[in-house]
């Protein structure tokens, strides 16, 4: 065992690969949060009155709320008055072609390996890239527009589709939902908006890359996805953030609404800066993601691979309101060094014959702490509801921790709820077996971990699956020598 521990301890020394800062002039507003700041944000974004009202209401609610403390996390105190709530690249992004875009920005994307341009089209992906709050470039909008699909930045949606925004914003995650959601509602700067009209299958994966760039700027993204009757969309979200010493707050909100027979697949690869080996720095990721299976036979799938952030507080959930609706949560959460993650899902069964599946794979290395927290609630009227939950934890070394907190509330006698949980350690014998075939310990761990997570990775769209596999490997590099 000692040998293995030595190895495992050594593996946690890889530097964060995407740690660099782009030198683009940024338009700040003074730090701190007040009603005045909320008004400035809304004014800067030239928003209609209903948006300002929405923000102010949320802000006032937020003032009365307390930061949640029930998670298995040690969160240092956050001074919300020390945060800058709005930053936008100074060059306004109104370009006809990429030639007009700030080359510095393009090279940032290139470094991240985000092909914003033609490669994406060949790969069948339209990209709406968000860099520090304002959408920089939106591609393929025209192609999608022909089908009636709206895929744009949130600001644009507010400008061009205010009716849709007003109707759906806050429907799934209302401003008073929780502390971080309220904060997001008050100050969110930008994000993505998707509307798939009735009967339309979105022909490509929609994807957004978020990136925190300006120093000390809280990032508050807002995503709203509406899939109308009989529509389908697969949405990809991936992030990388540059290296930082100060902790940065990230409190995003994602809302999904699926109407009758609509299907939405939401896949995330999350790789915010996790802090260094000693646990200094890194992103605080306090996210509220929720989907509403509003219509009958609607389906929502959350697929996530979480490797980044110093602290993760995230529970992509589903409300199964429509009869016969289906929801899935498939998650791989990896923590290394001093990372902390408290993540899971909530499945709220309201409709008849609703079905949910939860597959959670936690991987802990170094001194990290990794918790699964899940709620399955079956309402009294949810006849024949079904849930299957499987929560596995894999431990690398002796200094990390894994916890499982399953909450089950069943109010209907005809429903079936199943829960399975396992905890295992990565086997020294497995590593030796790989070594004996010429595979280095580093690669062996990557391979074994990927094998363990395969069930979830297979749910990701092809392009993302490859990225996710590499990410798992990179994230464990240095945690075994």
């Amino acid at each position: 065992m000692d040998n293995q521990n030595t190895l495992l301890n050594e593996v946690s020394s890889r530097d964060y690969r995407f740690g660099f800062v782009t030198d683009i002039e940024t338009d700040f507003i003074p730090k701190g949060l007040s009603e005045e700041v909320v008004r400035i944000i809304s004014a800067k974004k030239e928003e209609p009155d209903f948006m300002l009202e929405f923000r102010l209401k949320a802000y006032r609610k937020w003032l009365t709320m307390k930061m949640p403390d029930w998670a298995q996390l040690k969160i240092p105190e956050i001074d919300y008055q020390e945060i800058i709530y709005y930053a936008a690249p100074r060059q306004q992004p109104k370009y006809e072609s990429l030639d007009e875009v700030d080359p510095e920005l393009l090279s940032t994307f290139a470094k991240l390996g985000i092909p914003l341009e033609e490669q994406k089209m060949l790969a069948g992906v339209a990209v709406d890239a968000v860099m520090d709050s304002v959408s920089v470039k939106t591609t393929f909008k025209e192609n999608l527009a022909e089908l009636g699909i709206i895929f744009c930045s949130f600001s644009e949606a507010v400008k061009h589709h205010p009716d849709l925004v007003q109707k759906y914003l806050g429907m799934v995650v209302p401003p008073n939902d929780n502390f971080f959601a309220a904060l997001n509602c008050a100050v969110f700067s930008d994000g993505s908006f998707v509307y798939i009209p009735k009967g339309v299958r979105c022909p490509m994966e929609l994807s957004t890359y978020f990136r925190i760039n300006a120093r000390n700027t809280g990032q508050f993204e807002r995503t709203l996805i509406i899939a109308d009757n009989d529509s389908y969309v697969s949405y990809l979200e991936g992030c990388t953030a540059p290296m930082r010493d100060e902790n940065q707050l990230h409190a995003a909100v994602v809302e999904i609404i699926a109407m009758d027979r609509a299907e939405v697949k939401y896949s995330t690869v999350q790789n915010w800066y996790p802090g260094n080996k000693e646990g200094v720095g890194g992103i605080y990721n306090f996210v509220t993601k929720r989907g509403l299976c509003k219509g009958e036979f609607s389906k929502i799938y959350w697929n996530q691979v979480e490797t980044g952030s110093a602290i993760t507080w995230k529970y992509p959930s589903c409300i199964l309101a429509g009869d016969n609706s289906v929801a899935e949560f498939n998650s791989v959460a990896l923590t290394n060094n001093y990372q902390q993650a408290d993540t899971g899902t909530k499945m709220i069964h309201l409709g008849k014959n609703t079905k949910s599946t939860i597959v959670s794979k936690g991987i802990s290395a170094g001194h990290s702490s990794n918790s699964y927290r899940g709620l399955v609630r079956v309402a009294a009227k949810a006849e024949n509801a079904r849930n299957y939950s499987q929560c596995d934890s894999l431990l690398l070394g002796d200094h990390c921790g894994a916890h499982t907190f399953p909450y089950i509330e069943v109010g209907n006698p005809n429903s079936v709820v199943e829960h399975e949980a396992t905890t295992s350690k990565i086997g020294e014998d497995q590593i030796f077996y790989c070594n004996q075939r010429g595979i280095s310990t580093q690669d062996a761990i990557g391979m074994i971990v990927n094998g363990y997570a395969r069930e979830v990775i297979n749910k990701l769209p092809m392009e993302f699956a490859v990225e996710a596999q590499k990410l798992l490997q990179i994230s464990l590099e240095g945690s075994v020598g």
């Binding site: 497995q430 030796f432 077996y433 075939r437 010429g438």
Partner: protein, 250 residues
């Protein structure tokens, strides 16, 4: 090819190998026999670089290089292969991916161009036929849900894919029925080349009916107490290990 000098090794502080001396040349097949607990598997594992075993004394040179100074994966890449007594299951990792990584890591090490997916599949087909392994096995996760016999056949298949210079078969015959034993032995014989060598570690004579050794060594209490030609196998089968003990005056 392999020169072992005065090799001592411990497991959890207990000395198991107490001064092994052995020289193996290219083209030779050596059988290492001995009663349970004599240190046969320890020797195999120490040579392969299993870090659960601590070498306390001695030298091993492999093709002129210091074997004990290499990590397990480097030993493998240098051409040392261990067929495990208990092959390990790796859930979720496909045999294909596992072997492709293994083969290409060795090629990289030898500075030979890595195999393309097409060439790799072709090689795999050839070797599968050679060792008569069920082609379904390679579509599954590494050893997961394999029967005992399938696991052993899979070891020989991997050996065929990796083409080692020195193959160590650790109790490959245990848990095999007679048909599987024949297939496994046949595979080993087909893979035999003048420039390669094989060490067969076994408790019984059975496997040695099929894989005929040039030299037979008896390991007892961590030392090689008797070495001879293949006729020693029969003698041991007839007289049992007690005969050796008696010869040693125990």
């Amino acid at each position: 090819m392999l020169i072992i000098k005065d090799l001592h090794a411990c497991v959890e502080g207990k000395e198991i190998l107490r001064g092994i001396n052995l020289t193996i040349n290219a083209g030779e097949v050596h059988a290492i026999m001995g009663p349970n607990g004599s240190g046969k598997s320890t020797l195999a594992n120490v040579l392969a670089g299993n870090t659960n075993y601590e070498v306390t004394k001695g030298e091993v040179s492999f093709n002129g290089k210091d074997l004990l100074g290499m990590s397990a994966d480097v030993r493998a890449k240098e051409g040392l292969f261990l067929s495990f007594q208990y092959p390990v299951e790796i859930p979720g990792v496909s045999m294909l991916n596992f072997l492709k990584t293994a083969v290409n890591e060795s090629r990289k090490y030898r500075q030979v161009k890595e195999l393309t997916a097409g060439d790799f599949l072709k090689l795999m087909r050839e070797k599968k036929e050679m060792v008569q392994i069920d082609s379904q096995l390679t579509n599954r996760s590494v050893n997961e849900g394999f029967s005992g016999g399938e696991k052993k056949k899979n070891e020989i298949f991997q050996m065929a894919m990796l083409e080692p210079k020195l193959a160590i078969l650790d109790e490959t015959d245990s848990g095999l029925d007679i048909d599987a034993l024949r297939i496994v032995a046949n595979g080993v014989n087909l893979l035999k080349k003048p420039e390669n060598a094989t060490i067969v570690v076994t408790h019984y004579q059975r496997l040695l009916d099929y894989i005929v050794p040039d030299f037979v060594h008896v390991l007892y209490k961590g030392q090689i107490v008797k070495s001879a030609g293949k006729e020693l196998v029969l003698e041991l089968e007839e007289k049992g290990y007690d005969w050796i003990k008696k010869e040693l005056g125990e």
